[in-house]
Subunit: 355 residues, 2 copies
DNA sequence: GTTAGCACTCACTCAAATAGAGTGCTAATC
DNA sequence: GATTAGCACTCTATTTGAGTGAGTGCTAAC
């Protein structure tokens, strides 16, 4: 069977109606729409076909139809084709938040946290953002300073002005000159490298370069290299916002699943892994604009099988890349989410280009 | 009417039974308890008295009784008297988590986040912790370093090794000597002060001390003072964990209130304000061990009126103080929560004394 | 003061009755 | 051949009413 124009119109109408109301859509409701000038009986026939083709189903015999994953997929693919319209529609709505974002570009964490909130409030779905993976980010400079007799502060600044502090303890006594020398040494050796690139060889070279200091310096370097390597779990943060928005969608809240779903948002490590994988996969995918849509069964996380997930990758330079995700019911307003997401990405990009 | 010994026994029995089951308690159930060797009729008479006195109520005519806020209040006050027993009971259970806490004392944020999680997991209620108010914390030292031509990194380390970074932009050109001089100047003037104590006068003095540099330095100081003053909202963080635990208590999840309650945990600013006020009020209250219990209507937040809140203030030195809160149903296991909280406080204190 | 006994209340459960929305099919119509 | 009107049918959701059981309050006896 073929998906002719009228079938498409009907399918889209079903999806749009279901998006609004959350109720199964009947033939009579559709027949009343202005762009469908046929009787309900005709529509029933078409719906029967659409069901056979797998785009819609009946929750029970005497109910209207609701879209299947396949139905949503068709709809989403359809929007994606005419995406540019959707963007402009939403852009204005967000500008009022611009100052919020531009205010403190220097603290990426702060920006991301607020973007998550902004997305959640604007879309009425749940938002999450994975922070950039510092390990892939280039070191801009390192500053070593003395805090106490045996405690040193190592402040590392990465591209994008992401700052990372560590406190290290050394047993050896260090005079001011030692510290400033090591400082110099660290900067000449490490600047421009990513954490991943700092391996044993770099450290060894550093030590040999240290020359006369090597006995004292050795310990500092050991501490630093350790501080630089034991940090996988913390580096990649995930910020979430609006998890409670799911209470606005009855189909997600009835049953036991509600708790499971809300709990899923507290499991930051799973979210992180998921977003990380998506980022890995589509980071350099220019064709999709870095935007992906996952519907129902397509979701990587089992507990979210009743939801849809829209993701977008941001990339503001080496190492400063991550993924934004919006989670909502399958009947989420894809137009709006896609538009909002694009708009936010664009603004973020501008903000970071300036900085 | 007077609360004689038998009435107390019955009241406590009602509360304990209701804590376990969440079901209204009837006279027959109570008559079967070993420590009540009287008939159900007698108990009915006593319960009638207790109801008249306001300690218990019937949800409806033909149901058992449940405790009122006043009933819980009596019970909690009773436990608080014999608190020391409760502590020791729980202490062992928590030791396994000790390494988790001691691992990274240098990052207070990290510790607090994990303590919140630990409390949530251990109690099965929702936990929250307010971070310390940096504005009241003493500056240990300040480190100024150049990031880019016109960008400087100001790293401020406070007592308790809490680190705060700011990036400031200056239009004037600075040579290395300027930076190290300003650095010296900042440290001699600001070390030992709290943010609150850094007022216009301090800044003015700093400027006059700057002497010959004043033209160039002026801008840096202005930037720094600004960076030091515009940060109220961020400084006081709140970490939450286990909000979804409330799904384990049906009386909290039925009705519309469930969503409201869960949402309340996303409103960090309100939580922050509440914990801040509690901290303010009981910070130096040695008598209560810094522990407070709020039941139902006593809660400062309207949306939590069906819950109880147990709070404890931590204080590990000047400025490093905050408040921990546990939120659960009114029928929460106060014994356990109080014990767990005390145990955690003790461990935290030890951890910080060492560092 | 305590207890046994009994009438009474009220929530909860279950089943049957009812209403309503929607479909599929058939036969008539364009 | 496509469209439509009409009708029987299906299934959910809502209502109703009877029955059940837990629990109380009261009274009279111990």
């Amino acid at each position: 069977m073929e998906l002719d124009e009228r079938k498409v119109t009907i399918l889209k109408a079903i999806i749009r109606s279901y998006m609004e109301t959350g109720e199964p859509v009947g033939s009579r409701t559709l027949s009343k729409l202005p762009d469908l000038q046929v009787s309900s009986a005709t529509i029933r026939n078409e719906m029967s076909d659409l069901e056979e083709m797998g785009y819609i189903v009946q929750p029970h015999t005497s109910a209207g139809r609701i879209p299947t994953d396949k139905g949503y997929r068709f709809y989403v693919d359809e929007i994606m084709k005419e995406k540019s319209d959707a963007i402009r529609a939403k852009e204005t709505e967000l500008t009022e938040y611009k100052d919020l974002m531009t205010r403190r570009v220097d603290k990426l964490e702060y920006v991301l946290r607020h973007v998550a909130k902004l997305l959640a409030v604007n879309t009425n779905y749940a938002a999450m953002i994975s922070g950039p993976n510092s390990r892939r980010n280039r070191i801009k400079f390192v500053q070593l300073s003395r805090m106490e007799e045996h405690k040193l502060l190592v402040a590392t600044v990465f591209e994008g002005n992401i700052i990372n502090n560590r406190i290290i303890t050394v047993s050896a006594g260090l005079v001011e000159k030692d510290i400033s020398d090591i400082n110099m040494l660290l900067n000449t050796s490490l600047t421009g490298l990513t954490m991943d690139e700092i391996n044993i060889r770099t450290i060894m070279k550093l030590r040999s370069d240290a020359g006369e200091y090597s006995e004292v310096v050795d310990q500092v370097l050991t501490e630093i290299s350790e501080a630089f390597s034991n940090n996988e779990e913390e580096e990649l943060e995930v910020y979430t916002s609006g998890a409670t928005n799911i209470f606005k969608y009855p189909e997600l809240t009835e049953g036991v699943a509600a708790g499971m779903l809300i709990e899923q948002f507290e499991k930051k490590d799973e979210l992180r892994r998921m977003l990380g994988e998506i980022n890995e996969k589509y980071r350099s995918d220019v064709q999709t604009d870095g935007i992906q849509v996952y519907i129902g069964e397509e979701l990587p996380l089992q507990d979210m099988k009743d939801c849809s997930l829209v993701t977008a990758n941001y990339d503001f330079g080496p190492g400063i890349s991550g993924t934004i995700g919006i989670v909502g019911p399958k009947r989420m307003n894809y137009d709006k989410v896609l538009g909002t997401l694009k708009s936010v990405m664009k603004q973020l990009e501008e903000t970071f280009k300036e900085a």
